[in-house]
Amino acid sequence: MSYKVLAEIIQEAERERKSFWEIILDEDCRESGLSREESLQKMSAMYTAMKEADSNYDASARSASGMAGGDGKILEDFRKKKNCLIGDFLTKVMEKAVKMGESNACMKRIVAAPTAGSCGVIPAVLITYEEERKISQNKIVEALYIAGGIGEVLAESAEISGAKGGCQAEIGSASAMAAGAITYLEGGDNETIAHAAALALKNMLGLTCDPVGGLVEVPCIKRNVSGAVNAIIASQMAIAGIRSKIPPDEVIDSMRRIGDLLPECLRETSKEGLAVTPTALNKM
């Protein structure tokens, strides 16, 4: 059984005197029948696939609709000019998030995390972290277990699909997962990890899913950027010592209730919002 609340993972970690990521590794071994080594190897393969997708970015590729492609290169060129207001780290995160979202739209191989539409958030944060901080890949793999554990709780107790819970459930979930992962890498304890996830998710509550033409392109690709950057600011707040005033599991429960209340026209049906603007209708 997957964990239904983050508090349970933290309690289990304290009881077993293990770290958050090891509790999720143990749980995967119990559920899937994989050995510890097999599970670690599989997670490592997921990270390798993320890095391959990042380095295989093709700036000339365009999606079938013609709406997606090329923006990742624009951000890369911008970063290399060294005049960005927000610094290299964040600009690189933005660039990688756009690149992955565009690769997905152009039918390249990506890793759904938790969904294909939100596939840019977690790799943008983790690959940039590995490149800029020069840490070992093992550490990143451990961080992915934390992201996965948070994602499991979100899937169990709320939603992770746009059709059910709106964009908050996809990009919001990915952002919370990435926030937890990077907080671990920055040395945060389990409590801090959970609060980073909560702070990230709170910023995404209520986000609707209204994609132009029903395609995973507009606004999805750039939402990956805001999800990734949001993960980092949430994590930095938590590392600095800020706590979510609403406990993490209550934030997750709020997302579920908000998702249930979202009208169907704003849950991946393209019947409202951006999808029915004159420009969107004109393009389709």
Partner: protein
């Protein structure tokens, strides 16, 4: 949901339901046909037809029919690959009765065999094979699956289940359907272990059993 459904799967984009799920439907159909594909008529229903083109659903289905899995980088090129192999592909649209919004009817022709399958993509990359040759089926393609078409008469279920018991194969789920009393019937068994080839052959020779189809994960 399991951990590697959250971090993963590795797949070709853009959509887990309209791309990865579509590849999987095609792949299961490819395994069920179990011989080289010569001709495929692909009839898209609902959202598969409406937004399928932008999601590459057409290329995804054909890639699956050619034996590719959802992470195969050649998926976008499947239409030209099929063309090179001389496989005849025809697309159309259809309105299926009581079908999931993401459904497809596949009419396949191999060397000696024809197969008709309705596949549904349920979200995530989870799929359901809703019917085979016009009879209800309902299986996910995540387990080794045995499909037996037989006459609706006493004893066939017992024959199949006792054979599985002898081979130490555990049944994860089992469904029975029939057209009408005494007519055509089908049983669909999802199993925890693979069924040995000779056991499948034995089933094929049983009286009253008309067709045995086996979907292996190997």
């Amino acid at each position: 949901m399991q951990l590697f459904d959250i971090i993963g799967p590795v797949m070709v984009g853009p959509s887990s339901s309209h791309t990865a799920g579509a590849v999987k439907i095609g792949y299961v159909a490819h395994k069920l046909l179990a011989e080289p594909l010569l001709r495929a008529e692909i009839l898209l229903h609902g959202s598969f037809g409406a937004t399928g083109k932008g999601h590459g659903t057409d290329r995804a289905l054909v890639a699956g029919l050619m034996g590719m899995k959802p992470d195969d980088a050649k998926i976008p090129d499947s239409l030209s690959l099929a063309n090179e192999k001389g496989i005849e592909i025809e697309f159309g649209s259809i309105s299926l009765k009581e079908a999931h919004p993401n459904s497809v009817l596949l009419k396949l022709e191999g060397k000696g065999r024809r197969l008709e399958i309705v596949g549904e993509s349920l979200g995530g990359s989870i799929i359901n094979i809703a019917s085979i040759d016009g009879l209800s089926a309902n299986f996910s393609g995540d387990y080794p699956t045995l499909i037996v078409h037989n006459m609706d008469q006493p004893g066939h279920v017992a024959e199949v289940t006792s054979m599985l018991s002898h081979k130490s194969v555990n049944i994860a789920s089992m469904q029975l359907y029939r057209e009408h009393r005494g007519g055509n019937a089908v049983m669909v068994l999802e199993c925890d272990q693979e069924i040995p080839e000779q056991a499948i052959q034995w089933l094929k020779n049983l009286e009253g059993v008309e067709k045995v189809t086996y979907y292996s994960l190997k």
